[in-house]
């Protein structure tokens, strides 16, 4: 119902001077204005986002050091990456892909953890607002600093974590130095701000829960888990959707923490696709832009699956809103 009136209303605009011929712009104002308003944003977005995506695809079929001539190699980069033909899959790529999957799965823990803290804090005792802010604020700190804070927290000698587990009689562990633990250590650091983010989404959602439904359910004897599952969670669906979107995107974008905490090590065990791509493209051993672009394209398709799902959900909502 929104815009239909636009043109019709326009036709009935009382013209102050009917004799005066109106200019082309005046006559087409409503049709032209949106494009004038969109032009700068579209220009910026096209030059810096849309066209580069296409260029990356193009570069991924080349071998290129970023300076000289790019040499067309067809799908050779992808064949090497995925191990097509008589070569094994790139070991570093395999590790990165596995780590990406670990990130995706474990990062989702931020959603229930955030919900748990939100429920814990959804009270009206004195000073609760300050508690909510303080629980949230790890999210505001840059990932670089979060990474540094956690790498000091994990230090085998100076770190507080080892002091704490020492109290319970466990020996010191060097989390970031152990290839089998390092990735989990970094994910734990990432979960800290991400949980805070999910918490704030759920706190806002809980605020909007319909109190009458809760009361009615209470009269019917629902409480605790059953209340949460059947009455509260369905009403929190918009919050859950956003929490899901930002957590998935955050997991696949993980780069800062890895770069700061381990720089991909020990022995390359904490690489993920985004980090491996960066390493290949701008490494000390010469820039391998083509190979890097091929990794980026794989990551892009991995993400595209989720993006299409998100857009489809939003499209359904748009249709429902009309």
């Amino acid at each position: 119902m929104r815009n239909e009136g636009g043109l019709m209303t326009y036709a009935t605009v009382p013209d102050t001077d009917p004799q005066k011929p109106r200019g082309w712009y005046k006559r087409n104002e409503i049709a032209v204005t949106p494009f004038l308003f969109l032009a700068p944003a579209i220009l910026f977005f096209a030059v810096c986002v849309i066209i580069p995506i296409a260029q990356s695809f193009w570069i991924s079929f080349h071998e290129w050091d970023g300076l000289g001539e790019a040499e067309w190699v067809g799908t050779a980069n992808y064949e090497r990456l995925l191990g097509i033909g008589d070569q094994p899959m790139d070991r570093k790529f395999e590790t990165s892909l596995w780590n990406n999957i670990k990130w995706l799965v474990l990062y989702l823990l931020a959603i229930p953890a955030g919900l748990f803290i939100a429920i814990f804090l959804n009270q009206t005792v004195r000073g609760i607002r300050i508690y909510k802010s303080l629980f949230f604020f790890p999210f505001v700190i840059s990932q670089v600093v979060v990474g540094l804070v956690f790498s000091w927290f994990y230090l085998p000698r100076e770190g507080l974590l080892n002091a704490l587990i020492g109290l319970f009689g466990f020996g010191p562990v060097n989390i970031l130095g152990d290839p089998s633990l390092a990735t989990y250590g970094i994910i734990a650091a990432g979960l800290w701000p991400q949980t805070a983010y999910c918490m704030i989404l759920y706190l806002t959602g809980l605020n909007a829960v319909d109190p009458e439904q809760v009361e009615a359910a209470r009269l019917d004897g629902a409480k605790g888990w059953r209340m949460l599952w059947y009455v509260i969670l369905p009403q929190l669906r918009p919050a859950t959707f956003i929490a899901f979107v930002v957590t998935i995107i955050g997991a696949l974008r993980s780069f800062d923490l890895i770069s700061v905490m381990t720089n991909g090590g020990p022995f390359g065990s904490t690489r993920v696709l985004s980090f491996y791509m960066f390493e290949e493209s701008l490494s000390e051993f010469g820039f391998r832009m083509g190979y890097g672009a091929a990794i980026a394209v794989v990551l892009f398709f991995l993400m595209l699956g989720f993006i299409v799902y998100f857009l489809w959900s939003m499209y359904r909502d748009e249709q429902g809103a009309r």
């Binding site: 969109l38 600093v145 809760v214 009455v231 974008r253 791509m277 701008l282």
Partner: protein, 282 residues
């Protein structure tokens, strides 16, 4: 209200809740508290193995003083500021216009353009990295603040447009129709009718983007190098190599680097959370 308000619970539960609350908070912020404690310790404490106890002397001023006077930190902070503020202005301006176009007008391709903005916003940075780096080199903008600003504006436009468009769509449409009936030009409708109504959205978005840009690390590393243009997130690596293993100074440095967005958050909390949770409630 869910869960049951604590006032309706027995007295013991209330006391228990009040007691658990601060403990939970300390546990939650433990890594940060440890770093804050590091940053006010004298160097001697690290030599003597007093890592977690009380500082043997209170060195807040000398540690933070060294961060400000004996390193490139002030330059990096200034760079961050000079990058962040123009980006915020640019991204908010572009997206307010784009959001107006997408939220108010019905035309062919409206939803398609809108979805391209959203999709572009979710794309992994790495697929843009090589071409964008190349583009900045071609334009002689590599390792300049301008290059970083222009690119950040473009990239943030996706998210900002999503935000603005949804906000404008929720505005009362009859206001715009009424203005049209009066014969008000379209750009005047934007400027005098829609923009004043968008103040809360502009504030929320500005605070949010400020934090995002200040905290960006990836593009800072890809598009800049050295203290001339690098923001503090990238500069802190150089800072840390200058004070290698001097944990008291490194922690002071990271606290300084993290502080501006934190201050912004605590000052503009309402707007920040409103921006972040837009869409979390239907």
């Amino acid at each position: 209200m869910f869960p049951t308000p604590i006032e309706k619970r027995p007295r013991s539960a209330q006391v228990g809740y009040q007691a658990v609350l601060p403990l939970a908070l300390i546990l939650w912020l433990l890594p940060l508290i440890a770093v804050a404690n590091f940053s006010i310790k004298p160097e001697a404490d690290f030599v003597n193995g007093n890592y977690w106890g009380m500082p043997s002397s209170f060195e807040l001023f000398s540690n933070y003083g060294r961060v400000f006077f004996e390193s490139n930190m002030p330059r990096y902070l200034l760079n961050s500021l000079l990058i962040t503020i123009p980006t915020v202005i640019g991204a908010v301006a572009l997206s307010a216009m784009a959001g107006f176009a997408l939220g108010v007008y019905r035309f062919k391709g409206n939803l398609l353009i809108f979805f391209i903005f959203i999709a572009g916003n979710f794309v992994p940075f790495q697929i843009l990295m090589v071409p964008v780096r190349d583009l900045t080199i071609d334009l002689n903008l590599y390792d300049t603040k301008t290059g970083l600003i222009l690119f950040q504006i473009a990239f943030q436009t996706g998210f900002c447009t999503l935000f603005m468009r949804n906000f404008i769509r929720a505005l009362p449409y009859p206001l715009i129709e009424a203005a049209r009936v009066e014969g008000v030009a379209e750009w005047r409708i934007f400027w005098f009718v829609v923009l004043p109504l968008m103040k809360p959205a502009l504030a929320a978005l500005a605070v949010l983007i400020f934090t995002f840009i200040w905290n960006d690390y990836f593009w800072a590393v890809v598009l800049t190098q050295g203290p001339d243009a690098q923001p503090v997130t990238a500069g802190i690596t150089e800072f840390n190599s200058q004070f290698r293993a001097a944990y008291h100074l490194m922690s002071a440095g990271s606290i300084v680097a993290a502080l501006p967005p934190v201050a912004m958050f605590f000052m503009m909390q309402k707007h920040f959370i409103a921006g972040l949770t837009l869409g979390a409630v239907k």
